[in-house]
């Protein structure tokens, strides 16, 4: 057991730094630094993915045979931390970090051959069709129908909270093919071509003004049975497998540590309530230290879970715990960033940021004027968008239910 980096790890860090130095253009860095949520500007994100793909680093967590990297856990962590520190825009998790793992585990050879290389290049860009207006926390009660019609399933219904539905050309989703005694039965996991006739999209305007989420409507959309992943009526098995990747597949602590460090830097310049700068205010300093401590502890927890996964173990309930800790810590930090932004943290200035989707109902002030620094414009939008952390991917209430059962046997 040890927490030290080896000489090889240090060399790897230098290699990553060197790569980032060379390849992250100022434009991409700006897109990364001025992100207002976990979603980067779509074009910047895809551009960065192509650059990473050239280097073979677009999907390091995949098995090597499909284009992944033979990295140790420490190396994954180093890569993630260095990328965040350098201000790299995030990649969409839906393809590389989610559905790809299900395709690798459950896909046919044809599905693997078609989708995996195209996910890597960005030619195929996935969105996720899980939640429905009446099926959120209670996902298994979903009702979007898919009726058997020879070689096709014919699908009618609606999905909601679909991130980047307008940018995506494919959706992975859950549809109802039959109704059994248990609602988890009769669900099928499908890959839907978003150019199919019968699909309509309504963007949802969030409190940040951004249009990243959508409601998607399906009116007798024909889905070839060749695009079913796993078995018909047994999609819940695939979905459960994926949910664990969604909840515990990555490491959040590097991004959280960078946030804490950025807040400390900003607070050393912003006036505090009692004279001097904000970081000299004992109340603020203690809150920040507390958050910092929690990120350090989370890092070790994440290591332990990643180590178990690397040994082929299912992260199981631990991923629920990590989801709760990481999202609540992120909410604490975005709140502190807003406090650090001072009075300017109340100005609504999306034009000074790089949001994950368009802001349509907004007219910037003359000459694109920005009050203060761009990070002060980012802070309130991140705060608003980050409220989603405890709601999406299974609300934190649901995660605590899972933990009560799985970790404590209640």
């Amino acid at each position: 057991m040890d927490l030290q980096w080896s000489a090889a790890d240090a060399a790897f860090r230098d290699e990553v730094r060197n790569f980032l130095d060379k390849k992250l253009t100022p434009e991409l860095r700006t897109a990364g630094r001025l992100m207002t949520s976990v979603y980067a500007d779509h074009d910047a994100s895809m551009k960065w993915q192509r650059i990473l793909h050239e280097r073979g680093w677009a999907a390091p967590a995949w098995p090597v045979e499909y284009g992944g990297c033979e990295w140790s856990l420490t190396q994954h962590y180093i890569f993630s931390r260095e990328s965040t520190l350098a201000g790299a825009p995030s990649l969409s998790p839906m393809g590389i970090r989610m559905v790809a793992h299900a395709i690798i585990a459950f896909g046919t050879d044809e599905q693997k051959d078609y989708f995996l290389p195209r996910i890597l290049t960005g030619e195929v860009f996935f969105c996720q069709g899980y939640s429905e207006p009446e099926a959120g926390s209670d996902l298994a009660s979903l009702s979007m129908s898919a009726v058997d019609d020879g070689d096709h399933l014919v699908s009618t219904g609606s999905k909601i909270w679909t991130t980047h539905a307008r940018e995506a050309n494919w959706m992975f989703g859950l549809v109802r093919t039959s109704r059994g005694q248990k609602k988890q039965h009769g669900i099928t996991f499908v890959l839907i071509d978003m150019r199919s006739p019968g699909i309509g999209i309504r963007p949802l305007v969030m409190t940040s003004g951004e249009e990243v989420q959508n409601q998607v409507f399906f009116d007798e959309v024909r889905v070839p049975k060749a695009n079913v992943l796993g078995d018909i009526d047994d999609g819940w098995t695939v979905a459960k497998y994926l949910l664990e990747f969604e909840r515990g597949g990555g490491a959040s602590s590097p991004a959280l540590q960078v946030m804490a460090e950025e807040i400390a830097t900003a607070a050393a310049e912003i006036p505090g309530p009692g004279g001097g700068v904000l970081i000299d205010d004992p109340a603020f300093a203690r809150k920040l230290a507390d958050a910092h401590i929690r990120t350090e502890v989370l890092e070790i927890l994440e290591y332990r879970v990643l180590a178990a996964v690397a040994e082929g173990k299912n992260p199981g309930a631990a991923s629920s715990m990590l989801k709760v800790i990481a999202t609540e810590l992120s909410q604490t930090l975005t709140e502190m960033a807003m406090e650090a932004a001072g009075p300017r943290g109340r100005a609504y200035q999306p034009h000074a940021t790089r949001p994950g989707g368009p802001v349509t109902e907004f007219e910037p002030p003359p000459d694109g004027y920005v009050s203060g620094e761009p990070w002060q414009a980012v802070a309130p939008l991140r705060y608003l968008n980050d409220r989603a952390g405890s709601i999406y991917a299974g609300s934190n209430e649901i995660q605590r239910n899972i933990l009560a059962k799985a970790a404590l046997g209640l």
Partner: protein, 405 residues
């Protein structure tokens, strides 16, 4: 001790509530923010002409109705409940108070216009260098013959883009002073860039570059503005605490209703104990906020240190409540709480901004600690606080009702 409203105060509350529920539409007010002027002048006119609330706490000699802090509480709570974006607190409470205490011809004539609804006045006190510390003014004011020359910048001056007049703080040779600026007459020395705030109101950054003002623009005595500014900030803080209570009442009611209706796992989500407890905690926070507003309001006319301590206690309590109630209302609404489609998202943004206005929660906890310490060091302050407290009690000996009655 008596927590009952008088007949007149009840009429005021009911009239305003009725007006807002029939004439103040959330969707319409948000759309003027996004694509229009940022407020609705016809609503402001109705405040002046139909409701007469623009002079609610201003004296009768300027056309006001001479009400006190309780009237202020009744009005601002109703405004908060309807999420009114028009600059009531900035103009009537903050600027109104500053002008009233300053006195003089200029101030009096402007107060009359505020009451009549023809003047919007905003305070420009915040600077990037000092943040919320209004006493650390960098903007300077120099005498030049029979004029004052102002030089400096202000940041996030709330409601300034809507204002006909600004009250600007500046450091004159004698100390911090207050200047009245007629926006239209200001000329090239003043530039103002307006923008939206996250809670759908308007603010502006100001640059004063050799802004030349006539002698009469000095409001109150040169160098003597700080005590009045401190009071204006306390009155503003008390007013938005009460506004926050109105917001929270609406948000809690909406959340309870949503949880009763929303079905998951075959039952209403309101039947889950974890959510019931959460909503009960929201209710407990709200009730504490209501009590804290009484604390602030009933000491708002006391001597400075008593007022300051009560207001800080209230702002800290309400800040904590606004944070919890707002965040949990969003959480319990799920994704819908994060959209612009339901009221909840709009109220959440206002409840967020309120935690930072007129001093953050931490600022007020810190000030409370300081004032408490000062009171220990100088026991006569505590005695005077007690004296003023018992005076308050003896002034309203009508009944000894419990808060619940």
């Amino acid at each position: 001790m008596d927590f009952k409203l008088s007949k007149e105060q009840e009429l005021l509350r009911d009239g305003l509530t009725k007006f807002l529920s029939t004439r103040y539409d959330l969707e319409k007010s948000r759309s003027v923010v996004k694509t229009g002027a940022g407020w609705r002048p016809e609503i402001w006119r109705a405040f002046a002409e139909e409701l007469g609330i623009l002079g609610a706490t201003l004296p009768e000699d300027v056309g006001g109705t001479g009400g006190g802090p309780v009237e202020l509480m009744v009005i601002t709570e109703a405004l908060g409940h309807a999420l009114v974006i028009e600059p009531y607190v900035d103009t009537m409470v903050v600027a109104g108070g500053l002008l009233r205490r300053a006195g003089g011809e200029e101030a009096t004539s402007l107060l009359e216009k505020i009451v009549a609804g023809t003047a919007i006045v905003a305070l420009a006190a915040t600077e990037a260098e000092s943040g919320d510390r209004w006493q650390d003014v960098v903007t300077s004011a120099e005498r030049d013959g029979d004029a004052w020359i102002l030089q400096g910048r202000k940041a996030v001056a709330m409601s300034a883009p809507l204002a006909t007049h600004l009250l600007v703080t500046a450091r004159a040779p004698d100390g911090v002073s207050l200047f009245l600026v007629d926006v239209e007459a200001a000329g090239a020395g003043l530039s103002l860039t307006g923008y939206r705030t996250i809670d759908d109101r308007r603010a502006a950054d100001l640059v004063m570059d050799g802004l030349r003002l006539p002698t009469r623009s000095l409001i109150g005595e040169a160098g003597q503005a700080l005590p009045s500014l401190e009071q204006a900030r306390d009155e503003g803080a008390a007013a938005i605490c009460s506004e926050a209570v109105g917001c929270m009442r609406k948000v809690l009611a909406d959340t309870v209703e949503y949880c009763k209706q929303r079905q998951q796992f075959g039952v209403s989500i309101g039947s889950f104990q974890v959510l019931q407890h959460r909503m009960v905690d929201m209710y407990i926070e709200l009730e504490q906020a209501v009590a804290a507003v009484f604390l602030a309001v009933l000491h708002l006319e006391d001597k400075a240190e008593v007022r300051a301590r009560s207001v800080s206690a209230a702002k800290a309590t309400v800040g904590r409540a606004a944070r919890f109630v707002g965040q949990q209302a969003v959480q319990l609404h799920g994704g819908m709480g994060m959209t612009e489609e339901l009221a909840i998202g709009h109220y959440f943004k206002r409840l967020t901004a309120m935690q930072f206005e007129f001093g953050t929660t931490d600022h007020h906890i810190g000030r409370y600690a300081q004032l408490s310490r000062a009171a220990e060091v100088a026991p006569q302050t505590v005695e005077s606080a007690e004296r003023s407290h018992s005076r308050k009690l003896s002034r309203s000996p009508r009944s000894f009702d419990s808060p619940a009655s």
